[in-house]
């Protein structure tokens, strides 16, 4: 009754990672062995060295085999046997030439390692980075060519790349070899007499494409909505389409997809187990850190800013509840999801643990899939909640407090990964005049057009916030001051060519921007970068507006 707790593919992947780690550490091990063998040939402390060699060779033979280095392992085994024989024989009876030949045999192991190294499976690069600069690809399946082309055109003007299909079977055909980012599908296909929500199962490649699905329909019937929801649809829009609303939803969905990796902090005194969980979460694309000294929990929270803490319930000095209690004493961490992980199966203990400030309790042993799902869902919910609190209702951008928090996170990340982050502040020039001349409704339109432009022109990983009335803050991770400057210059120029219309009067606006990069200001934290960018913005204003300045 064997029970496979985790998909074998996942385990194979984790094992491959272990193997790669092991191989990476191998040269260092061989260097140390080589040094021992050289000392042996020189005749120093022979007995002690032989014992040390024996231990090390034994380990290498065992671990090498476990990690698939079979030739190396068997060669090491025969060296180990040789050392063992010398240990049982009086050492001084052995001729010096034999030591030298032993050392040269050991040196040959290096070549075996190189051979095996070629077989090592390369870790695939993360595809998400590449997708960054590309437009979101939308597949539109709609039987009425007039509606289809019209909608495709409108979506394209909002920077979506649209592929139009007139019937489900064409899209099915394409789904065999290709994949969109988002799928929009009509419900009623008149000519074929098909209701897409009913017949989608007949198009398996399309149905299981695993991308967000939106339905558009001219009839609002409950049964179709239920079927759409069962198919996992993320929206149901009625014709005639309210295109801005549809665009908004598309933006929401693609924003969700381009979210930065989830950050998890593991607190566990068992290094092996912690590493095991770390690998599982890493394989799910998360950023993971492990903390072994619970005393440093608050410092680590500040530095890493995890979105969830995974904590062992029983640790040698402190209980999980103690640490959760400490975390909750800090106001800014009061909302941080904390999940206990323990072999404890007593429900009362679990309830009590959760009562002291944890959000949930996972029971060990836990499968990798289960752990990943549990963590992912909790972070997603926490993000959703904070998005509702932190988004500006007019522009959908982050609000003041949220962007300030993000700049701290990104400044910390930039230090961690050793790549620059650039922060920019933008302000619409003479905005008060716009409001006074054309009214607040027009002012709002100008503000949301800047927001739209920023969204369209910036990368997926960039973070955009509405800092104040007509002021915006932008965080550009892994971006130098020069690149940021070019980007903002482009945005400034484009904005100045936008024509606004109000009651027959046409006008345009300009904007000023200031930016600050962590490369030029290496000791600046997030807040200081914002201040520096703000000062640069003011010097742009003083310099005559409609320009970009670098701090």
């Amino acid at each position: 009754m064997s029970r496979k707790a985790v998909a074998s593919a996942e385990i194979a992947k984790l094992l491959e990672q272990q193997r790669a780690d092991y191989r990476a550490r191998l040269p260092e091990q061989l260097t140390q062995l080589q040094k021992l063998a050289d000392d042996l040939a020189l005749g120093k402390r022979r007995q002690a060295i032989l014992e040390e060699l024996h231990q090390r060779l034994h380990k290498l033979a065992g671990a090498g085999g476990t990690f698939g280095l079979n030739t190396l392992s068997s060669r090491v085994q025969s060296l180990e046997q040789q050392v063992k024989d010398w240990l049982s024989d009086p050492v001084d009876t052995v001729d010096a030439a034999i030591w030298r030949s032993f050392a040269s045999n050991l040196a040959q192991l290096r070549e075996l390692m190189a051979e095996s190294g070629h077989q090592a499976i390369a870790i695939l690069p993360d595809a998400t980075e590449e997708a960054d600069e590309q437009a979101v690809r939308v597949w539109l399946v709609e039987d009425d060519p007039l509606v289809g082309r019209e909608l495709a055109q409108q979506l394209e003007s909002f920077n979506y790349e649209v592929c139009y299909f007139q019937c489900l079977s064409d899209a099915e055909q394409a789904a065999h070899t290709n994949c969109p980012d988002i799928l929009i599908m009509d419900v009623m296909f008149e000519q074929a007499g098909e209701n897409a929500t009913k017949v989608l199962h007949r198009y398996p490649a399309l149905k299981d494409i695993g991308r967000p699905l939106l339905f558009i329909s001219s009839s609002d019937d409950f049964q179709s909505r239920v079927r759409a929801s069962r198919l996992g649809a993320e929206g149901y829009f009625l014709k005639p389409l309210d295109v801005p609303r549809l665009i908004n939803r598309l933006a929401e969905i693609s924003e969700k997809r381009k979210q930065p990796p989830q950050r998890v902090l593991i607190v566990d005194d068992d290094t092996v187990l912690a590493e095991h969980y770390r690998l599982i979460l890493l394989s799910g694309g998360m950023e993971v850190e492990v903390l072994q000294q619970p005393e440093q929990i608050i410092d680590r929270l500040e530095a890493f800013r995890p979105e969830l803490v995974l904590m062992d319930l029983y640790m040698p000095e402190y209980r999980g509840q103690d640490l959760a209690g400490v975390i909750r004493q800090y106001e800014n961490w009061a909302g941080l999801p904390i999940v206990f992980l323990s072999a404890e199966t007593d429900l009362n203990v679990q309830i009590q643990a959760v009562g002291t400030g944890a959000d949930d309790f996972l029971t060990k042993p836990i499968s990798g899939t289960h752990l990943l799902a549990a963590v992912r869902v909790r972070i997603a919910r926490a993000r959703q909640l904070s998005a509702q609190i932190s988004r500006d209702s007019l522009t959908g951008l982050l609000k003041h407090a949220a962007i300030k928090e993000m700049v701290d996170i990104e400044a910390a990340r930039s230090q961690r990964i050793g790549k620059p982050v650039t922060v920019a502040m933008l302000d619409i020039d003479h905005f008060k005049t716009v409001n006074d001349t054309y009214g607040h409704a027009v002012g709002d339109l100008v503000i949301s057009s800047v927001a739209m432009l920023l969204r369209q022109r910036l990368r997926r990983s960039d973070i955009i916030g509405r800092y104040g009335g007509e002021e915006f803050a932008v965080i550009l991770p892994e971006c130098s001051a020069e690149d940021a400057c070019r980007l903002l210059e482009d945005i400034r120029l484009r904005f100045s060519t936008v024509h606004f219309n109000h009651e027959g009067r046409e006008f345009s606006c300009t904007l000023s921007a200031g930016l600050a990069s962590s490369r030029e200001l290496p000791n600046h934290g997030g807040a200081e970068l914002l201040v520096a960018a703000d000062e640069a913005l003011y010097s742009a204003k003083r310099g005559g507006r409609d320009q970009v300045q670098v701090a």
């Binding site: 064997s2 074998s8 385990i11 094992l15 034994h58 671990a63 085999g65 990690f67 085994q77 095991h276």
Partner: protein, 125 residues
């Protein structure tokens, strides 16, 4: 169905520890406690109460056989199934390890994908 076996695994090599934990926890669904030495195993065993013990034969300090001997002296572990793990699996050696009180000998290097099945078979035998 009986509860998932709790396995105490004694092995000094950290790399093998990691792979064994994956093999036993993720593939096998066992509850696993890992000790890096025979001395540590003697301490941990009381608290963990394993259903089965896996012992590496060659370890610095207390090796596998002497760990087994010490465990058998404790009444709680007089009958706990024990398997040795070793690279040397000559029939004579297997017979020797069995005579020390081990139920079985598992060959190293083990296959991470089948180790759990092997262990379960020994546990159920």
């Amino acid at each position: 169905m009986s509860a998932l076996p709790r396995i105490l695994y004694v092995e000094d090599e950290p790399d093998i520890q990691t792979v064994a934990r994956m093999a036993l926890e993720m593939v096998g669904g066992f509850e696993v406690r890992i000790c890096s030495s025979g001395e540590e195993a003697l301490q941990e065993a009381e608290d963990f109460v394993p259903d089965m013990i896996l012992l590496d034969v060659m370890m610095p300090g207390m090796d596998g056989p002497s760990t087994l001997e010490a465990l058998r002296k404790k009444p709680a572990f007089a009958d706990t199934p024990v398997a040795f793990m070793t690279a040397k699996v000559q029939p004579a050696e297997v017979a020797h390890y069995k005579s020390l009180g081990a139920r079985e000998v598992i060959a190293k290097p083990f296959d991470p994908m089948t180790l759990a099945d092997q262990v379960r078979a020994i546990w159920e035998s």
